[in-house]
C-alpha cells in the first residue's frame, strides 16, 4: 500500500495570513478603558477571539487578553453574554 496511493490531494498551502491590527497600525493602542476599541476581539458570547481568527500576533494577543480581563473586572465588558 505504501507509496502506491494516488489521488491524495496535497494539503492546500497555508491560508491567507491576517495581519496583526496592532502591528499594522502603531497608533491603535490596547487600552482596557476603551471597551469599544477592543470589543472587536470579543465574540458575540463575550469570549476572547482566538488569534488564529483575529490575526493578532502573539505579543498583542497577550496584551489584549490582559486588557479584556481588566475591562471585565470593572464591568466595562461582559464575562458572558446571553445567546
Amino acid at each position: 500500500m505504501n507509496g502506491t496511493t494516488t489521488g491524495k490531494k496535497p494539503r492546500k498551502p497555508s491560508r491567507r495570513r491576517r495581519v496583526c491590527k496592532f502591528c499594522a497600525d502603531k497608533e491603535f493602542g490596547i487600552d482596557y478603558k476603551d471597551p469599544q476599541s477592543i470589543r472587536y476581539f470579543l465574540s458575540d458570547r463575550g469570549k476572547i477571539v482566538p488569534r488564529r481568527i483575529s490575526g493578532a500576533c502573539a505579543k498583542h494577543q497577550r496584551q489584549l487578553c490582559v486588557a479584556i480581563k481588566r475591562a471585565r473586572n470593572i464591568a466595562l465588558m461582559p464575562f458572558t453574554a446571553p445567546k
Binding site: 500500500m1 496511493t5 491524495k8 478603558k33 470589543r39 471585565r72 461582559p78 464575562f79
Partner: protein, 176 residues
C-alpha cells in the same frame, strides 16, 4: 522583605471605581476629597481625575445595572494603593473598584499636573442604551473557507483511510 523605593522615584498607578448609580454630587465630592486626601497624605501625587458619568455596566454589580465611573491616575508608593483600596472597601457608595500599576519607576518632578486634569464633575454625556461597535464583528472566514474547500465528508474519510496502514484498510475492505 518588601523593597522600598527611594522617595525620589515613584510608581504610577490608576484606579477606577464605580459609585452607586443614585449617588448625588455631594457623595462624589466627598469620595473625591477623601481620595485626594489619602494620596497627598501618603506623599503621592494625583495626576488626573475624571468622572465618566453614569454608564451602563456590562453585567449587574450588586444588582445595579448602572454606575458612576470615577477614574484616578496618581503617583505614589506601595502603601498608597493599599490605603486607597482599604477606603474603597469601607465606602458604601463604591460598588466596585480596580487598581492597575502603569509604571514602575517615575520621577514625580517630570509629571506636571494641570488644574484642568483634575475634575470630578462629569463632563461625559450619558451613554446611549446600545452603542454600536466601532468595527464589525469578526467573521471566522477561515472556517468558512475550509467548508468551501473541503470537497465532502466522504472524500475526507478516504484520505484518512489512505493514511492508515494496510491492515486497517484490509479490514475495512472485508467488511465491505
Amino acid at each position: 522583605m518588601v523593597q522600598v523605593l527611594p522617595r525620589e522615584r515613584a510608581r504610577e498607578y490608576e484606579s477606577i471605581f464605580i459609585l452607586h448609580p443614585d449617588s448625588q454630587s455631594d457623595v462624589v465630592d466627598s469620595v473625591a476629597a477623601r481620595c485626594q486626601d489619602i494620596i497627598t497624605r501618603l506623599q503621592g501625587k494625583l495626576l488626573r481625575a475624571e468622572n465618566w458619568g453614569r454608564r451602563r455596566l456590562a453585567y449587574p454589580v450588586k444588582k445595579h445595572q448602572k454606575g458612576i465611573y470615577i477614574y484616578l491616575r496618581y503617583l505614589g508608593y506601595q502603601d498608597v494603593v493599599h490605603e486607597l483600596e482599604r477606603n474603597f472597601r469601607a465606602i458604601d457608595a463604591i460598588i466596585k473598584f480596580l487598581s492597575v500599576k502603569i509604571d514602575e519607576d517615575v520621577n514625580p518632578e517630570a509629571r506636571p499636573v494641570a488644574e484642568t486634569d483634575i475634575s470630578f464633575v462629569s463632563t461625559f454625556v450619558e451613554e446611549e442604551e446600545s452603542a454600536e461597535p466601532v468595527m464589525p464583528p469578526i467573521v471566522d472566514e477561515d472556517s468558512d473557507r475550509d467548508r468551501e474547500q473541503a470537497p465532502a465528508p466522504r472524500d475526507e474519510r478516504e484520505v484518512v483511510e489512505q493514511k492508515d496502514d494496510g491492515d486497517i484498510k484490509d479490514d475495512d475492505d472485508e467488511q465491505d
